[in-house]
């Protein structure tokens, strides 16, 4: 008897342990890799989803026999994001799953007119989202057109976008790779403004959507990470280009690796170093109620390309070059600071630094921060150390006859 009851228990447990109330069968799920959000003129969200075609990405011989794109992009409109996610079922025969989403692209005009607060609430609240997806602002064209461009390297365009964002942040440093969580953290911090990397379409959209684009050796249509979007109170305010954008990364200690160039003496030739081990420290001080930030950047690198006739075996030359490179970085940071002070947006987080070191004084300043920021004194000190000269010592140009 006892055994029989035990048996019944075991069976009951079996039913419970499967926990299959919230089951999602694999063949009923559509994996969303990327999502783009735009706004139409009549105030509706225009949302596009990049969905994987499982057959095209699965390995083995199957994928070689079939010709098709690895992803399909679907679009729908609605007053809210969640609405569109469910409404899209009219087009997609499966239920959307967002747990593998890698990029979220927000349309430029949406970011400009409405700002980020409304859009981001859903991404944070919805259980299905992961806050590790990279967020980018589409530049010059709507988010949905960016999302639908194919490329030959990665079968799934969303993966390409994410990889490009990560890689460029790693080796070039102009644009940071920020995910949903990073964005919301900065968005909610009142002493810091948001900056996000941009992504732009080069070429013709119609052409880029066709799989024949992958048969070109030099694709005429592609997408690239482009510029740094600057926000004020969650609304897009402008764009920073190239070195101005990198200036922000220097200050925020976001540079992992990058390349700095400088002339040698008397404008003869140029040299390039690969910068590593950047360490930026912000030192806030307050004198007579006036805030001041000292940006101390320490960094090192090795020479990778030299086209000026200097003797690199001479330590004094290296010291000279260190100063030149430090100067180049300093100028870069200074222009960036100046531009942002004109724009009155503190994407550096100077306000937050002040708050952390001088909370009392910060409380007096915070109401009027953007104007205080635009007038405040910022001092930039850069130290640069060349640690190596690559595989050769003296530059080739010295051998020129």
């Amino acid at each position: 008897m006892r055994q029989r009851i035990g048996f019944i228990w075991l069976f009951l447990v079996l039913i419970l342990l499967t926990g299959c109330w919230d089951q999602n069968e694999l063949e009923d799920v559509a994996l969303v890799m990327g999502m783009g959000i735009d706004k139409t003129e009549d105030g509706l969200y225009d949302v596009s989803f990049q969905i994987v075609n499982p057959e095209q990405v699965s390995g083995g011989e199957m994928s070689q026999s079939s010709k098709g794109t690895a992803v399909t992009t679907y679009r729908d409109k609605g007053q809210t994001l969640f609405e569109t996610i469910r409404k899209i079922s009219k087009e997609v025969p499966r239920k959307l799953s967002f747990s593998h989403m890698v990029v979220l692209i927000i349309g430029e005009s949406l970011a400009e007119d409405e700002g980020l607060f409304e859009v981001m609430d859903f991404t944070e609240r919805f259980y299905g989202f992961r806050s590790t997806a990279t967020v980018l602002i589409s530049r010059g064209s709507p988010a949905q057109s960016i999302l639908s461009i194919l490329n030959p390297i990665e079968k799934i365009p969303a993966m390409k976008i994410q990889e490009a964002s990560k890689k460029t942040a790693e080796v070039w440093g102009e644009t940071p790779d920020q995910n949903i969580n990073d964005l919301i953290q900065t968005l909610t911090t009142k002493s810091k403004e948001v900056s996000l990397s941009g992504i732009a379409l080069v070429g013709d959209m119609q052409e880029g959507q066709h799989s024949s684009i992958n048969e070109q050796a030099a694709p005429s249509t592609y997408i690239e990470i482009n510029g740094l979007a600057i926000f004020q109170d969650g609304k897009l305010k402008g764009w920073l280009e190239d070195k101005e954008a990198r200036g922000v990364s220097w200050v925020r200690n976001n540079i992992q690796k990058t390349v700095v160039t400088s002339t040698c003496k008397e404008n003869e030739g140029i040299l390039a170093v690969e910068v590593r081990n950047v360490n930026t420290k912000l030192k806030p001080t307050i004198k007579k109620g006036e805030p001041k930030i000292t940006v101390n950047i320490k960094s090192e690198g090795s020479l990778q390309e030299v086209t000026c006739p200097v003797d690199l075996t001479d330590p004094n030359v290296i010291i000279e070059l260190n100063k030149k490179l430090a100067k180049a970085i300093e100028e870069e940071v200074n222009t960036s600071v100046k531009t942002l002070q004109e724009e009155e947006t503190d994407v550096f987080g100077f306000g937050e630094t002040l708050n952390q070191k001088h909370p009392k004084e910060w409380k007096k300043m915070k109401e009027d921060w953007s104007s205080t920021f635009s007038e405040m004194d910022v001092e930039v000190n850069v130290e640069f150390f060349i640690r190596g000269t690559g595989l050769r010592t003296k530059p080739l140009i010295l051998e020129k006859k």
Binding site: G19, D22, E124, N355, P359
Partner: protein, 364 residues
């Protein structure tokens, strides 16, 4: 009374699991913003002092539970009334914890599962373990303690290793002065530290009474330090603005772990922690309620009460609040002040005072 015996080590384990319980996932200190960790730490110190009070009472009456010495101290009638009040207190908190547990699971992972089903399964497992007695609960505790510690160590290592921590997010300390810290203090002192009063029902089963103080204080300090670390980590990872708006800061913080693309999506570890902690919290409160009822109404075996009281707890957990917002609001604004404070601080202090006066009169 049950003829169970638990060792000092088992008491330590049960207390630790109880302290971590649901508090590790929904941290109570976050109302104090960046100083949440400080509030939790101060709450722990107050909790330790409270435990010393309970311990003195236990030393005065080593063979009796709270209900037992309540009767001795206050007399038969007043003592019984007090006992009934405590019975309802333990039941109510068991009910609240069960609801907490259900709300957390349905909001995080079991989106479409009715909360009633989750609560039923939980109360069934609690009833099953308690049917086998306190010793089985204690041994279950030892087993899950090891698992929980392993999850904790791995989780902490990965958070540290994935470089998500930005210690500057905790600065400045005391941004708005002491006021917010002190205003949240009643909350953190009572939940989860003051709730240790439920162990006054378990202490008579301890086989080595001399280990009581050591086990209790070390479990509470260890638990308190872990809770402090977790809330500090939540803020350092998420930033205070995200952390204080999250329903489950720990879940969001662990979700960000991505170490070399290899260790990621570890949210399930948090759910595991929640299930283990929730189980012991509910089980211990429920057990205390069962023992109280047995002693008060002179029932022979407490096992005969398990089934009816399970149904009471289950149904009450469904009706205790109309939705999660209502439930949390009650838990933050009413329960600590009007229920926890009198039962955890007021009554024990009065009991201790009367007991000491009586003893003094007797010895004279």
């Amino acid at each position: 009374m049950e003829k169970a015996k638990i060792s000092g080590w088992q008491l330590f384990v049960l207390m630790l699991l109880f302290e971590l319980g649901t508090a590790i996932v929904i941290n109570p200190g976050l109302g104090a913003k960046k100083d949440a960790w400080l509030t939790v730490l101060l709450g722990m110190i107050i909790g330790l002092l409270l435990f010393v009070v309970y311990f003195v009472l236990y030393r005065l009456y080593p063979d009796l539970s709270l209900i037992g010495y309540g009767k001795k101290i206050l007399g038969k009638y007043a003592g019984t009334v007090l006992g009934v009040l405590y019975l309802f207190y333990f039941l109510y908190i068991a009910v609240r914890d069960l609801r907490d547990f259900g709300e957390l699971l349905t909001a995080s992972t079991y989106i479409y599962t009715p909360i009633f089903v989750i609560n039923t399964i939980m109360i069934l497992s609690v009833a099953f373990v308690l049917w086998h007695g306190l010793e089985v609960l204690a041994r279950t505790g030892e087993f899950f303690f090891v698992i929980l510690m392993m999850v904790g160590v791995v989780g902490t290592t990965l958070v540290l290793g994935s470089g998500q921590i930005d210690i500057n997010q905790l600065r400045p300390i005391l941004e708005n002065g002491w006021k917010p810290v002190l205003s949240i203090l009643p909350l953190t002192a009572t939940f989860p530290f003051g709730e240790i009063i439920v162990f006054t029902m378990l202490l008579p089963y301890l086989n080595q009474p001399r280990l009581c103080l050591r086990a209790g204080l070390s479990a509470m300090s260890f638990g308190g330090i872990l809770l402090t670390w977790v809330v500090a980590m939540d803020i350092a990872v998420l930033g205070i603005y995200v952390a204080s708006r999250s329903a489950f800061p720990l879940l969001s913080a662990i979700g960000l772990i991505d170490m070399a693309g290899l260790f990621q999506r570890l949210d399930v570890a948090v759910v595991l922690t929640l299930i283990i902690g929730g189980f012991f919290k509910i089980a211990i409160f429920f057990y205390a309620a069962l023992v109280s009822a047995t002693e008060l109404f002179k029932v022979k075996k407490y096992t005969s009460l398990i089934f009816p009281l399970s149904i009471v707890v289950l149904l009450s957990s469904m009706s205790v609040a109309s939705n999660s917002v209502d439930h949390i609001k009650k838990g933050v604004e009413l329960v600590p002040y009007y229920i926890h404070l009198p039962f955890q601080v007021g009554i024990p202090f009065i009991l201790l005072a009367i007991a000491l006066i009586r003893r003094h009169i007797k010895s004279n």
